[in-house]
């Protein structure tokens, strides 16, 4: 195998599994250390720089970071990254003086942002400090987009949402709320230098089965119904409610229904439990509120008497996979009837661009989606950019934020240089953490605590009032203990071949047998010949150049390295060192050579 090129920042970035998996590449271990140190405001700002909505995401994020957390490979459960983020947001001091401001004099360029959700707000957050005039359009009365209309208040209190949305709106954004944009042409005619489309995926899928039309007033489309509850147009629901669908929207619908008068709320899902799209923790929370999840039931018809809904009939199926892994729902012949006063359909959502004229030069492709560049987010009409769910279909908030940052870079490059293809490199620092004998500037001791559960309010209290937040968040002492579970994967094991005397000290001490000194070979052979074969192909091997004494190579399997620093502790020559790797995605307007204060604080 060729020696690992650690000068490529992506090598060490990949070792930080959580950060690598985060679409916005939030430096997770960095802010977890700050939380452990009680520096909540600093932890909040590390987050805010990267993901713009720490308080919101600390409650609602889809957490792509947690399933990949190294802790989950070493023991049972990942670090509660998401809930730690909330601790930073809940305990921070005043931050307004730390936020960037719009300059007094603008740069003369005007950008329209269509939709006031996370993608557009991120674009605004990145472009406002650069002097752009930003016009934000949304048909809702307040900013936040789907974060406001789709996420129930018992998961995301409005104060939290308002605070973080206002941080951005207060940068001098021109707000055009309760303004439905019905024509992109008319926006373009207003002479904007660029337009960003962050309108999400606003159309809930419907279910075209017998009885649907006759029972119109008792059947709701999930995302519309949630919005109507959010804006207080709907305040109650029937006693018996069926929610169709297995995603997070279905979970939000059923739990909201429980709070609006639904005593007997059931979730009915076509597929099997294991294949449900909802996050496991959201399913858990629904089940905890006495909501049964009924799987393998395919809706057949709405049963009604003269337009009055009586219930629904379902076909029970077996899920069968063919040789190619393709799923088939095979009816068992059994049919089931569930009584219901109202039904909520939450089986998916789609994009809809009826307001974009098709003769503007924006190319539309498969499924009537605009053709958008995956890196630059530019459409075929060069001044129009897309991001968030509007770009490639429904994802989540953190993905929308990541899109927003990249689109902002593109808009800034497009308006300054006329081209968007040369992207700025990430900001990277790599600094030794050694402070003395047995002393490292990070807490290298590995906690063996199990994951701490987040406390909830009592079910009685939660179900009585839709506005009571269910999760209470960690208190600072539990937060500290949970933060200590983080393995500090960003503190990298850095190997210097020329210093190694091959004493095997690191091999002998490594608790998880990651380090090997062996004859070089090709990667598959090398993976098998290690002391503990490296069979997790997603994790890289760190390979040195040939060693001075024996011409062997050092091979480290990154998979279950605890970053405990014992290899460096045991190394007599300093060939191993623990170095903190800070990786930040460069934002619009900031050339990579300019580092933020947070990056130099080590």
């Amino acid at each position: 195998m060729k020696a690992t090129n650690t000068n490529n920042p992506e090598y060490f970035h990949k070792v930080v599994d959580c950060q690598y998996a985060c679409p916005a590449h939030t430096p997770v271990p960095e802010y977890i250390r700050l939380i452990a140190a009680g520096r909540y405001t600093d932890a909040y700002m590390v987050n805010w720089e990267s993901n713009v909505f720490p308080g919101i995401l600390g409650r609602t994020c889809d957490r792509p970071c947690e399933p990949v957390c190294r802790r989950g490979r070493v023991e049972e459960e990942a670090v509660a990254i998401c809930r730690l983020k909330r601790v930073a947001a809940d305990n921070k001091d005043e931050v307004s003086h730390l936020l960037p401001k719009a300059p007094l004099e603008g740069n003369g360029k005007r950008v329209a942002l269509i939709g006031a959700g996370p993608a557009s707000l991120t674009v605004a957050r990145d472009l406002a400090p650069l002097g752009y005039q930003l016009d934000l359009y949304d048909d809702q009365p307040l900013g936040g987009g789907f974060m406001r209309s789709q996420i129930p208040v018992f998961r995301l209190p409005p104060e939290v949402l308002d605070e973080e949305v206002n941080f951005i709106l207060d940068m001098g954004i021109k707000q055009h709320f309760q303004t439905y944009v019905s024509s992109l042409k008319s926006i373009l005619q207003q002479g904007y230098d660029a337009v960003f489309v962050g309108t999400g995926a606003p159309r809930g899928s419907d279910l075209d089965i017998p009885g649907r039309e006759a029972c119109e007033k008792s059947i709701h489309v999930g995302i519309d119904w949630l919005a109507s509850v959010a804006f207080e147009h709907t305040a109650k629901i029937g006693k018996r409610v069926l929610v169709l669908g297995g995603g997070n929207t279905a979970m939000d619908c059923c739990r909201t229904a429980r709070r609006l008068g639904g005593d007997d709320v059931k979730v009915v899902v076509r597929s099997e439990f294991a294949r449900m799209k909802a996050s496991p923790w959201e399913i858990e929370d629904a089940v905890a509120e006495d909501i049964p999840i009924i799987n393998n039931h395919v809706p057949k018809e709405f049963v009604h008497e003269d337009g009055v809904l009586k219930g629904m009939r379902f076909t029970v199926v077996n899920v069968v996979y063919d040789a190619d892994g393709k799923r088939e729902l095979v009816p068992t012949g059994e049919e089931v009837f569930f009584e219901a006063d109202e039904v909520i359909i939450a089986i998916g959502q789609d994009n809809a661009f009826p307001w974009i004229e098709r003769d503007l030069g924006i190319e539309f492709g498969k499924w009537d989606m605009p053709v958008v560049d995956k890196t630059t987010f530019q459409s075929s009409l060069k001044k129009v950019f897309f991001g968030g769910d509007a770009a490639f279909g429904p994802e989540n908030i953190i993905t929308a934020v990541a899109h927003g940052h990249q689109a902002a870079i593109s808009i800034d490059l497009f308006l300054k240089e006329g081209r968007v293809d040369q992207r700025p490199a990430p900001g990277v620092t790599l600094v030794s953490q050694k402070m003395g004998v047995h002393e490292w500037s990070y807490d290298s001791e590995v906690s063996t605590d199990d994951r701490y559960p987040v406390p909830h309010v009592s079910k009685e209290k939660a179900l009585k009032d839709r506005k009571v937040e269910v999760e209470l968040g960690f208190d600072p002492s539990v937060a500290y203990q949970e933060a200590e579970r983080c393995l500090n994967c960003d503190v990298q094991t850095v190997f210097t071949t020329s210093k190694c005397i091959e004493c095997d000290g690191c091999v002998d001490i490594c608790p998880t047998d990651c380090i090997n000194f062996i004859d070089n070979n090709d990667e598959p052979a090398l993976r098998e010949s290690l002391r503990r074969p490296a069979r997790n192909q997603d994790q890289d091997l760190y390979v040195s150049t040939a060693l001075p004494q024996t011409q062997r190579v050092m091979v480290k399997d990154e998979n279950v390295c605890l970053h405990c620093g014992l290899c460096a502790e045991r190394c007599p020559t300093g060939a191993w060192d623990m170095q903190r790797f800070f990786y930040s995605v460069t934002k619009a307007g900031s050339p990579c050579k300019q580092s933020s204060p947070l990056m130099t604080s080590s």
């Binding site: 290298s444 095997d504 004494q549 279950v560």
Partner: protein
């Protein structure tokens, strides 16, 4: 202070026939200097015992004084252990072994503890053929007292300050062969591929087994002029690769070059040695002495299994002691009463 070994281990770490993991054979965290060869030997002992499926409580670790003699604290924390007086580990081992012949005895000593203060005790435990594994962690200096030359330091090899050693070294392996040892091996702490099978073979050997293991002292004797440094030993090492094949296991070769010889141990396991030349007979004392001195003259260090005498009589055989350990006998058996004492006394009149 962050110097704590985490308790997490590799999730796919193997389990041996006893259902134990390697972790069950570990000890406390070493307090030796970073990079000390002794820690590699401790790790090799852990691997050997884990792979031999030895119950930790069936092992007794014995040591004298010195850096080497501290190491029993760093492996097999579930075993019996006795950290004895400087150079007197052989006496304690002899007493323990006579009292309980069922335990596996692993003695750990250094070049000071064995070749200087303990040379007298060492010579006698060798000639008595006590059933034990005696490992000398040999670094050519007194590491615990600031690195003075030891009795195994080669003539002409300078210490860290630059003072040249004027005296001739004691070659413990050759000495042991000379005075009747029945198993003598030499190895290098930086070559676990050879060291682990050698330790396994030594443990399996019935009788006294000496392993003289060159183990560089990183702090005092790893400089460029030293003949006990990692770099020098790597260059001078004429390693005879060793395989240890436990009983009831198919014999497959790990190495493929050189002349091989296979030695069947008394328990049915097989030691396979890949010799440097065909004339060398490791079951012939004279041949072993000639080979080691030949390599020494060439400035090389011959490592591997140097000499073995199978089917020797160990101390219990010579003394005709009871077959069971004393702690498994009743008071009646251990103290048969004055009638027996009288008859013994009568036999002496």
């Amino acid at each position: 202070m962050t110097y704590v070994k985490p308790s997490f281990r590799h999730p796919e770490a193997p389990i041996n026939d006893l259902g134990r993991t390697r972790q069950d054979y570990e000890g406390g965290l070493s307090t030796l200097c970073a990079g000390c060869g002794h820690d590699s030997i401790s790790a090799a002992i852990i691997d050997a015992c884990f792979e031999l499926n030895i119950e930790p409580h069936k092992v007794a670790k014995l040591s004298g004084i010195g850096c080497s003699s501290k190491t029993p604290a760093y492996f097999l924390s579930g075993s019996h252990s006795f950290n004895s007086v400087h150079g007197r580990m052989p006496s304690v081992a002899t007493g323990a072994n006579l009292a309980n012949r069922d335990l596996i005895y692993i003695g750990i000593s250094g070049d000071g503890d064995t070749a200087s203060i303990g040379l007298g005790q060492f010579a006698h435990v060798v000639r008595r053929n006590l059933n034990m594994t005696y490992i000398v962690e040999n670094n050519g200096c007194y590491g615990l007292t600031k690195g003075q030359d030891s009795a195994t330091m080669d003539t002409g090899s300078p210490n860290k300050k630059g003072d040249i050693n004027m005296y001739s070294p004691i070659d413990l392996a050759r000495l042991a062969i000379e005075i009747g040892a029945t198993f003598v091996g030499r190895s290098f702490s930086g070559d676990k591929q050879q060291l682990i099978p050698l330790i396994k073979a030594a443990i399996s050997h019935r009788g006294f087994a000496l392993l003289d293991v060159v183990s560089p002292c990183v702090t005092f004797n790893n400089h460029s002029e030293s003949t006990k440094s990692y770099e020098y030993v790597r260059g001078a090492n004429s390693g005879m690769p060793v395989d240890f094949v436990p009983m009831r296991q198919e014999i497959t070769a790990t190495y493929d070059s050189g002349a091989t010889c296979e030695v069947c141990m008394h328990d049915g396991s097989v030691v396979r040695l890949y010799k440097q030349d065909n004339d060398y007979d490791i079951e012939d004392r004279q041949s072993a002495l000639e080979a080691t001195s030949h390599y020494a003259r060439e400035g090389k260090i011959l490592t591997g299994l140097l000499y073995i005498q199978r089917d020797s009589e160990e101390l219990h055989d010579v003394l005709g002691t009871a077959r069971r350990p004393l702690n498994s006998m009743t008071e009646q058996q251990l103290c048969p009463g004055s009638r027996f004492l009288d008859s013994i006394n009568a036999g002496l009149r």
